[in-house]
Structures are given as structure tokens and as C-alpha cells.
């Protein structure tokens, strides 16, 4: 009887563990699918804000405008139609809100029913006009009035665009090149600083430090890993930014370099604890065998301990890289968030996680901005995946070489 009860309990626990494993894997898979589903819809969205259109007089020969050209027109950087091959006439810019300044509410009718008529008058009177109007209140296309054809956001607009201005009207710009290069720059240098340092400290702690030092340092480092990232960001903004500014004589201290420093400091405790744990777990027998064969302490570390704990070290590296690439708050506060393609390490940059963190709250659910941010998340996911795979491959090679 007791034996049956025990067996039943064992099977129950087994079942619960299998179930939790299955649920976890399915949740992760569903999150990834959700990410891609929300993001890819971007390429079916119109490049001009949904529900709006650009209207011109039909005498105007211009039929097609790129999003960057639309931005230049509405920013008053280009003010003549001849820049697009049209007539040598000044562009007359009209935004929808101006109708409320030209006519009183009474003249526009109840529920604004008279707006299309008034807009029609304005367009017909001004052949050089380009008007940004909501489709619901715009005049119909007929003799004299033409709506520029709706285009969807193209792959080149997104992956090849060089400006990220997601809330401008009429056509938001979703170019990811500055964000991707910013992320790669900051993460690369963070890893460059953190990896050698982290592995060095791990080797020191596991092999060279005496017991007392290890007893003090290890808990301290593990404590550092638990500090929330906002605190690191604040520390970076108040302490590191002035130091970088004064040390390198820059005009502004918020740069990619400062971001890399903060990220390296954040990734260090993770790398150190995981690598050190795996190095300590090398069995004494192997170490003593190597020393017995005449190897020096350093040769033992290099040829026996590190290859043995290669999988642990690669786990530490992957975790550290993941932390460095995915950090949001700390980077948001110290890199300056300037969406420019960085030309040097000392330019302010904007990373993908910081962009998502700063902008997702206000992007209306299901809108173009929202989809663009999810697509950015997909890019981040793929980036981290590639790096993890590369690290796994390298560590497998090391294991083979070591043995």
C-alpha cells in the first residue's frame, strides 16, 4: 500500500515537472510568435499616418513623394516645387488645423459637415498647395483635386532609412540604421571591456585568491548583480558623464562610450559569478593530475581548468552579452538618445531597447508606431540569437580542442 502511494506521488511530481517544462517552453514560443506577428504587419501599413492623405491640385504634375521628401517639405527645408521636377513655384503648405483658424465653428457646419466644401475651395484657389487632411473630411477627388496615392512602408524605408522620427506628421520616418548601429556600437565596446575583465576576475577568484579574500569579494560581487538598472543609470548620469566629459575634453559627456562603461559595469557581476562557479567545479583530481605531470599552476589553469569549464564560461559570456545588449533604463539615461548614425565612439547614440522603453507607452495599440517598435524587438531578438549561437559554436570548438 505504502509502496503504491510512494510511486503515485513520484509520478505526480514527475507529471507536474513535465507540465511546467512544457508550459514554459510553450510560453516562450508564444512570446516570440507574438513579437513577430505584431511587427511584420508594419509593411502593410500606409506610409502616411492612417486615416490621412496628401492632397494637391490636379494641375500639379508631381505624383509620387518619398517619406523623406515629405518631411523636408513640411519642415520648410524645400519650398519650391521645382526641386521635384515641377513648376518653379513656391509650395503652399496647408495643415488640417488651419481650417479652424480660417473659419469659425458655425461656418463649418454642425458636426463639421461643411469642411469638405471649404477645403475644396481652398485647394482649387491655390494650385501650388499641398494639404495634409484627414480622409474623412477631405473633398472628393474630381476635376482640380488629386490625392497622392497611398503607399505602404517599404523594406528599404525601414531597414535602409537613416532617420527615426516616429511621431512627425504627415509621414513618420522609421529608419532603423541609426538604432541598430547605436546598439551594436555600445554593446560591442561594453563586451570588449567586460569580457576580459570579468574572466580575469573569475580566474583570480577561483584559482589565485586566498580563502579570506574570496569570502569577502564573492558576496560583494553577487550583491552588485542585484542592483536595479535605474540606479546604475542614475550613477552613470551623475558620476560617469562628468568624468568622461572632463577626461576627454568633450562638449557633452553623454556618449556611446559612457553607455559602454555603464553596461560593462552591469554585465561584470553576471559574468564573474557564473564563470567563477563553473571554474571552481573543476574536480580536484584533474587539477592534481595536471600538477603531478609537471605543469605549472598557470599551465594548469590554461590547459585544464578553462577547457573543462568551457560550457560554463560560454554560459557566462552569453548571459553577460544578453545583459549588455538588452539593458534599457541605464542606457536611456547616459547615452543621450540622439537618433544619429554614430561616427565615433564619443557621439551620443540611441539603442534599440532604450527606444522601445521610451516610446512603447504612447504608441497607440495596433498603430504603425507600435508595429515598428515590435519589429525593432524582433531585430533585437535575432541579434541576440545570432550572438548566442556564435558563442555556443566557439565554445564547442574549444571543448573539442581541449580534449
Amino acid at each position: 500500500m505504502k509502496k503504491h502511494l510512494k510511486k503515485f506521488l513520484e509520478r505526480l511530481v514527475e507529471g507536474i515537472l513535465t507540465l511546467s517544462g512544457a508550459v514554459t517552453s510553450i510560453t516562450i514560443l508564444l512570446i516570440v510568435i507574438f513579437l513577430f506577428k505584431e511587427g511584420v504587419g508594419l509593411f502593410n501599413s500606409p506610409s502616411i499616418e492612417k486615416g490621412y492623405g496628401l492632397y494637391t491640385h490636379s494641375d500639379n504634375q508631381i505624383d509620387d513623394l518619398e517619406v523623406s521628401e515629405i518631411k523636408d517639405i513640411f519642415d520648410l527645408n524645400i519650398s519650391n516645387w521645382k526641386a521635384f521636377g515641377g513648376k518653379d513655384e513656391e509650395i503652399y503648405l496647408f495643415r488640417f488645423n488651419e481650417i479652424f483658424k480660417l473659419y469659425t465653428d458655425a461656418e463649418l457646419g454642425e458636426n463639421y459637415t461643411l469642411i469638405p466644401e471649404k477645403l475644396e475651395e481652398i485647394i482649387l484657389e491655390n494650385p501650388n498647395i499641398i494639404a495634409y487632411l484627414p480622409i474623412r473630411y477631405a473633398p472628393e477627388e474630381k476635376a482640380g483635386i488629386k490625392m497622392l496615392p497611398e503607399k505602404n512602408i517599404t523594406l528599404t524605408d525601414f531597414f535602409g532609412g537613416e532617420e527615426w522620427i516616429p511621431t512627425t506628421t504627415p509621414a513618420p520616418l522609421f529608419g532603423v540604421i541609426p538604432l541598430v548601429t547605436g546598439t551594436l556600437l555600445v554593446s560591442f565596446f561594453a563586451i570588449l571591456i567586460a569580457l576580459p575583465l570579468g574572466l580575469g576576475v573569475a580566474i583570480y577568484l577561483s584559482e589565485l585568491a586566498n580563502d579570506k579574500t574570496r569570502k569577502i569579494m564573492k558576496p560583494t560581487i553577487e550583491l552588485l548583480a542585484g542592483i536595479p538598472s535605474v540606479v546604475y543609470g542614475f550613477f552613470g548620469l551623475v558620476v560617469l558623464v562628468p568624468i568622461v566629459q572632463n577626461a576627454f575634453n568633450l562638449s557633452v559627456g553623454e556618449t556611446a562610450f559612457t553607455g559602454s562603461l555603464v553596461l560593462a559595469i552591469m554585465a561584470l557581476p553576471t559574468i564573474i559569478t557564473v564563470a567563477e562557479d563553473s571554474m571552481r567545479s573543476t574536480p580536484r583530481a584533474m587539477r592534481e593530475a595536471s600538477l603531478a605531470l609537471g605543469a605549472t599552476h598557470w599551465q594548469t589553469i590554461y590547459k585544464v581548468v578553462i577547457p573543462y569549464s568551457a560550457s560554463g564560461i560560454s554560459a557566462a559570456v552569453v548571459l553577460g552579452i544578453g545583459r549588455a545588449i538588452g539593458e534599457t533604463m541605464a542606457v536611456l539615461m547616459v547615452t543621450g538618445n540622439a537618433a544619429l548614425i554614430p561616427t565615433s565612439l564619443f557621439d551620443p547614440v540611441r539603442t534599440i531597447p532604450a527606444t522601445i522603453a521610451a516610446e512603447l507607452g504612447e504608441a497607440p495599440v495596433g498603430g504603425t508606431h507600435y508595429q515598428a517598435l515590435f519589429l525593432l524587438g524582433c531585430i533585437l531578438f535575432i541579434l541576440t540569437l545570432i550572438i548566442s549561437l556564435v558563442v555556443e559554436l566557439i565554445s564547442k570548438k574549444q571543448v573539442n580542442n581541449g580534449l
Partner: protein, 290 residues
Amino acid sequence: MKNRILSYSKLIGFLIIGMSFTGCSPSSEEEAGATPSSTSITIKGSDTTLPISQKVAEQYMKDNSGETIIVTGGGSGVGISSLMSGTTDIAQSSRKIKFDEVEKIRDSGKSIEEVVVAYDAMAVVVHPDNAVNELTREQLEGIFTGKIQNWNELGGEDLKIIPYSRETSSGTYEFFKESVLLDRNYVNGIMSMPATGAIIQSVNQTKGAIGYVGLAYLNKDVKAIHVSYDGENFVEPTIENAKNNTYPIVRPLYFYHEKDTNEKLDQFIQYTLSPAGQKLIEEIGFITVN
């Protein structure tokens, strides 16, 4: 063979159970019109309006025990989009709601009411050692759109101008763009900081910096610029100058809520507009509504 079939069928069984758990997800988007809670009031939105809501809410909760008010920031854009999705009672905003946001809400069957609860003067700040004291609107526009790049063009030292802005979800960002930049875009690659506190910190640390903050956040770490819209009268940002309309960059702060509200919401809004509530608002550094 039998064992394998058994283990596979167990795995499939658990997968099905696992999927059914994830299948019943909350469909919060479909529940249009569901208020967050019938016993507490939620206020979400602008970080500029946050000190006002916090102070008024605290006093209100002290005076009426049993009422709970939840106040969150995040930016005016966040507040208004929460109002659209029904996750907040009041959206506090430092910019006027946009036409297409009103349309979106009207499409979903609700209608919005706008209440002005305070006025805020926006101060343009520079590093305390900066020699420049006065700027016109055109000069400010040139600085923030990237056309003016060095302080010596404005009578200062030979120092590169570093403009700081808020991030795009901020009502402060939108209002500054509308009023000072006349709807032009900020220079590509402007430094964008996540909070007003971060702007004050950065401007205090960087010699060539210039940024904009709400008047309530002004302190001795930074220097406020005297601004002129007409090129002749340069006015310092203070509460008196904002009240008597001589300081040009003043904006209303709004509470947006659905038209058909419950009594509790009405009571709270009336309290905010009452002399007691307005006195609290004045104490923090904003301008009252009258």
C-alpha cells in the same frame, strides 16, 4: 514501443493542457467602456502634471477617507492612449488632445470632456555660467531645429550648442514643438532625455547645454532665459509674469475624462478646481485657473 507511445501521449496531453492555459488570455481590448475599478480613481499621463495630481490626490484622500486615487506618470501620450483603451479614468495631459485622437475615441463610441486644471509656464534653461541671458522665439527655433549651432552666433562664447529635449511621448515635447518651433521638427539627433529631472541634471553638467522644463522644476542648478516672442520685451519666467500674460510660453494643463462619469470622479474634479485645490496647485509652482 509501448513505453514510447505512453510517453508521447503524456507529452501531448500536457501540451494540450498547457495550450489551454495560454488560450484563455484576457481580452481587455474588447471590453470597451469597462472602467478600471468602481471604487478607486485612476489618473495616468503627463509627468508635468504629476506633482499637481499627487498633491491634490493626497489631500483629497486625507479629507475623504475611504477614497483611493492612483496616480501614474509616463507622458501625456501614455495617458491619452490609456484613456482610449479604457485603462484609466482621467488622462492628465500637458498638451491639447490631437484631432485624430479625438476621432479615434469617438469611433469607439465614447466622448471626451476636457477640463483645464492649471497653467504652466515653460522655462528655457541653460548652464548657470552661460553668458547669454535673452533669446527671441526665432533664435530658440534656430537652436532647436539645428540651424544655429554655436553660442557665439548669439553673443556668447565660442561653444557648441547642445540642445536637450524630452522624449516623444511627452506633452512638454509636443507643446514646445507647436509653440516655439511652429510645428517644425527638432534637429535630427537631438539629445532626448526621459524625464525633466534628467534634463536639469544634464544642463547643469554641460556648459553648452540648453533645454526646456516646466516652471515648477526650475531650481538654482540652472539658469532661466528671458524669452521674447515679439523681439522687444524679454520676460523672465515667473509665476507673476505668467499670470499677467507677459511671459509668452504658457500652456494649460488638462484633465481628460469620459463624458458620462460617476459621482466620485465629478467630486474629485470639482475639488481640484475649488479654491482649496487651486491653493495646493499654487503652492507647487503652477498657475491657478482664473
